[in-house]
Amino acid sequence: MRDNVEAAEAIFGQVVDAARALGVTEIEAIIAGSDEALTRFANNAIHQNVAQRTTQLSVRPVMDGRTARASTNRLSRDAIREVVAEAIAIARLTEPDPDLPPLAGPAEYQGVERWFEDTARATPEERARAVAEAIGAVEAAGQTAAGIYSTGESVFALLNSRGVLARHTETMARFSITAMAADSSGWAKASACDRATLNPLELALTAVRKAAESRNPRDLPPGRYTVILEPAAVLDLTGQMFPDFSATAIRDGRSFLTDRIGKQIFGENITIYDDAGHPLQSGAPFDGEGVPRKPLTLVERGVVREVAYSRQAAALAGCPLGPAPTGHGFPLPNEFGEAPINIVIAGGETSLEEMTASTDRGILVTRFWYIREVDPYEKIFTGMTRDGTFLIEGGRVTAGVRNFRFNQGLIEMLSKAEALSAPVRASGEEMYDMVAPAMKVREFNFTETTRF
């Protein structure tokens, strides 16, 4: 799979030849391949066990302000000719767009090493052994396990006729587990480019502990509570707002940051970066046009400072000395522009244990579920707690509680954060992985409770 990066140049040569034969000289190609496997378990047994391998070629010509994209996973010489012809044919049927940027030029990219042989070569037997050990730990506690262990590698190459040659290879391993008892459950998850840093058994034991400690859940009334959100809960909820840190979203009037750039909207303890080079991050150091990803300070001490700019968004900003492209553009053509995707929420120095100890009465949240936007400008979201929700009394966890529904504005929430832990690479189920801390928040708005 990793060798396919070298094959990308040969494929691109065929793309260029096919385009030239049709009178087109400006063309871009994205070659993306993946080889992934996932072992899935439930009811203390492996029940779904899958692997897939695919390579996709996607091409985009630029002709007098016109562009379109065509993709295929057939890589024969004929298929490459056909996909190039299809892209050119549909591009010719569009109207010229004076704001369409020409293809990007070559650039230097930050070196990131995110491919690990041991992860790429993980076998079904190795995953099954780790899963069996994790299931054993859950069964020993009299609980029932469900989850996944996935491993895989991917390659992403972007080349264009102006000399861009951007390549990235990466491996990824994920382990997620839910431990279920009679009337409670616990959950834990982690991901890493290097599977050697994952510890499935430790994650299983965390899930077991949460399920055991949340037995016989108490039925608390809805209302405003002090909450301690574990990192997965922080990332799944706050992660919903980052698509709005986009110059195109602001220009379209669909971002909650419209009329809020440069203003203090969060508490002074909130600082957020986008940093593709962060050692706990994953992903390519370039964007969908081959522009190097630059670090951004999205929020500094509660003030919104920077947003992402694609090349087109930067040009549309109008001022010759205006913002430069930040390297966060999506592959063109698209209507969304750009977004930061390598989020790092700067943390604090308060551990989860210290947050708990300093809480007279509050709720500890392991994870959220089914988070959806209620109000796009006040950034109110709804969702449920799940798999480990606890009552804190007198500085310690005293009981599990039935799950809550929340309706919470993010602007309000990030203005009421009282303490943050050191950030970690966090993995949830509703947003992409981030580097995020645990967070203690006052007056979190739980509006209803469910019956389990």
């Binding site: 692997a51 695919t54 549909i90 569009t94 767009d97 400008y377 209803e448």
Partner: protein, 484 residues
Amino acid sequence: MKDLALSALDAVARRSVTYADARAIEIREREITTKNGKAGHVSSSESMGIGIRVLAFGGWGFAATDDLSKEGIESAAALALEIARAGTAARKREVTLAPEQKYEAAWVSPFQIDPFSIPVDRNLGVLLAVDAELRRHPGVSLAEASMHFERRRQVFASTLGSLIDQTRCVTGAGFAALSYKDGEIQRRSYPNSFGGQYQLKGYELVEELRLLENAPRVAEEAVALHSADQCPEGEFDLVLDSSQLGLQIHESIGHPIELDRVLGSEANYAGMSFLTLDQLGRLRYGSEIVNVVCDARLEHGPGLGTFAFDDEGVPAQATDIIRGGRFVGYMTSRETAAAVGQARSNGCMRADGWERLPLIRMTNVSLLPGEQSLDEVFDADHAIYMETNRSWSIDDKRYHFQFGCEIGWEMRHGKRVRMLKNPSYSGITTEFWNACAAIAGQRHWTLWGVPNCGKGQPEQVMGTGHGASPARFRKIRIGSAYAG
């Protein structure tokens, strides 16, 4: 395609397997969007590959590849078997399958106009005309419109001897107007949110939707919402339009009746279900006028869940889910049907591509039409009427939900009194359906397409169908999304 499927099946069938199937799939898609007077996303894609599923050593193995050479298929077949063998490290019981017959069939979903025969410039012309009409209304800050076309051919071959060649054609289209004013964003969509209407049809769907004709009203409503009153909080009678009711069915009936969820297969991600096995035939799910079916047959309509055979070779069927308010059926697969002692799968296994394993997915889960006229549905002293979904959330057992809609109206004696912004409602699934007081008749029934239903690990995105007509519910909690 047939040769591919048969050669993949042969590659595993000559090894020691209890059962195997192969799906050779070719998908072609076209996506066209516009935004504020310009083309947005204009793309075309194709994907071809093969997925091989084996039942061996008592469990499943699955491998998929787009390397369609003899070596590529052999390699995938060997990997599927290796994966099945590895699963013995954590296996509690041997998988058994409900019996099924052998079928040889070829089926093409009916359509009038091949959407791929319509040139892209004509598609763009339709969308840009809608776009211009939306932006003609002062206050519309963003106009978006889209079309999506898909043609999928699948050849299924199994060791039962089945060989099934199916082609499905799906079309989707819609638009939205967004208005930003004084720190508030309002949005109206047509004919539904999240891309509009999707059906198992050709380009004729785009013509039936009357996009341009509806653009002025939608633009006007998006802007008018800024001046509307906030939806009140409290307990009111609620009338839902058929598109919102379609999503309500999807979330609070469609997902909990998936038998794999009930049996725990999805516990780590999508969750489980409040519909435990002891509820079947006993639970009073809804009021007596609530009748829900799961129906993949063409007779039900051109839904995203309409097909001739599911992805393990079981013919499309109609299953009663709620009959006269009582819960009477799950959606099943051959494995889950056998696990609960049912004689046969009701044919709900579907995969979103050649690279994915089939799972139990909704076909067309529909609320059957009632006997009331639309006037009778609205005939309440005081009610809130809501249209077009804006947000949706339900717990992992599918019991407690909250929905928001784009627009609402306060109704008195069947008449609209005032427009309401930011309407929302919440409740408990069975309490909500038991509060159903009136359902409009067949004339007002629409089979909606939900194109983006997520389930499984790795996650699969599936299109599902939901028929519904407007309905009224008594004493529902309204406005909780903005409470507190």
